[in-house]
Symmetry: C2
Subunit: 214 residues, 2 copies
DNA sequence: CGGTTTATTGAAATGCGTCAACGATTGTGG
DNA sequence: CCACAATCGTTGACGCATTTCAATAAACCG
């Protein structure tokens, strides 16, 4: 068994990410239906976004057309933070969602009033860096561990024992770089050892972390 | 086969990373013998570093004590950039090396007053981010592809057809998340199809990229 | 040189992916 | 609200890539 720290569209504890901030007040709201795109890969990145309700997935494709899900974003999470001019991924709603849309210009000038622009950018970049490093760690562990830690992180975010899995098994598989069947089998096994129990396919009850890791 | 862009301690073409920069002028020099540690995981990160001669590996361990090599750093590369207080990895010299040691405090105060330093630091951090993202992509491809691209990236860095592999097969394996035997077999296969040829275990001649990918 | 470390090679075991069939859930129109 | 279709998830059988274990060979270092 390998160790793993997995973050799923996790926000930092900074003021930027918790509750209503000055930045959020500069935002407008947008409603999304299931499957609707927020932005496309290659589009110039003029806004950043924050999930209020629902769930967003970001993804890209490798040269063989295989889909790679790069993150799931839940209420409170910011996404679309790419610092270079163009979005490097697609973003779309997994479930009906409400998001905040924040103009990049306004954001950066606001950051400037708190700190220096450079420091703000550094912080954002460093968060992305941590995320990417955690993803690397995750991809080094076994299939069952990836699934278990995925669930654990979701639980940690939710704070309730009941966890929503708004995304499909295929989404999870493309995020963890596994076959959908492997994800399914891992979930079944976790249920067999009663680490989790299913309410529906998309809502489960997660027990202790220890048992998750087993 | 999956697509893959792998970067190994790659410097950008920016002024920061080639030759002497303003950041480098704040540095002192340190000599390291083979296997010597630069810093330890958990140590508070008071400096950042730049390789002048030799090769540095960074690594950590998973919960089972299995070693995970997170990067190889060659002349021109910066490492130890963790922005949070503590180093998240160990760093040690693979070969006798000379490195620059740059005080973090000086660096950060320079960041606040000097725009070029701030931009430089952003560049370096962005490079590290790219590196981590490429690592994630790399870990999604097959064993043979990982080895092939690893070699190709080394060649691209060196600019010579003759490539140094100062690290052991085990180092490569721990970096690519493969068994040492798998790395060895991949290399053997590449030699059989005469994509590479060995001078010694640690110096090879690499031919075209096309053949590497095969 | 001889001993130690490091790399290669082969054989067997295993984990995960693929393919295919089946079962459950969701959405739609009567 | 039901029935049906379409989608999504589960399960089993099998194959292949990679790991593991074990033996041998090559390089390194006193």
């Amino acid at each position: 068994m390998k160790s793993l720290v997995l973050k799923i569209g996790r926000s930092s504890p900074s003021s930027l990410t918790s509750g209503q901030t000055r930045i959020d007040r500069m935002a407008s709201t947008r409603l999304l239906s299931r499957g609707e795109k927020v932005f496309r890969k290659g589009q110039s990145a003029r806004q950043v976004y924050k999930v209020e309700i629902g769930c967003i997935r970001t993804f890209t494709h490798d040269r063989d057309g295989c889909r790679l899900v790069t993150g799931f974003y839940f209420p409170g999470d910011y996404f679309g933070l790419e610092m270079r001019g163009k979005h490097s991924v697609f973003a779309e709603a997994i479930a009906p969602s409400r998001i905040l849309v924040i103009g990049r210009k306004a954001l950066f000038s606001a950051v400037e009033t708190d700190n220096s622009v450079a420091n703000g950018l550094l912080n954002v970049t460093n968060l992305e860096l941590q995320r990417a490093q955690n993803q690397s760690l995750m991809l080094r562990s076994s299939a069952h561990e990836r699934v278990a830690h995925f669930l654990f992180e979701l639980k940690k975010r939710n704070r309730r024992a009941e966890v929503d899995l708004p995304m499909s098994r295929q989404d999870i598989a493309d995020y963890l770089n596994l076959a959908m069947e492997t994800v399914s089998r891992a979930l079944t096994r976790l249920e067999k050892v009663s680490t989790i129990s299913f309410r529906t396919y998309h809502r489960i009850k997660v027990r202790t972390r220890k048992r998750l890791a087993a």
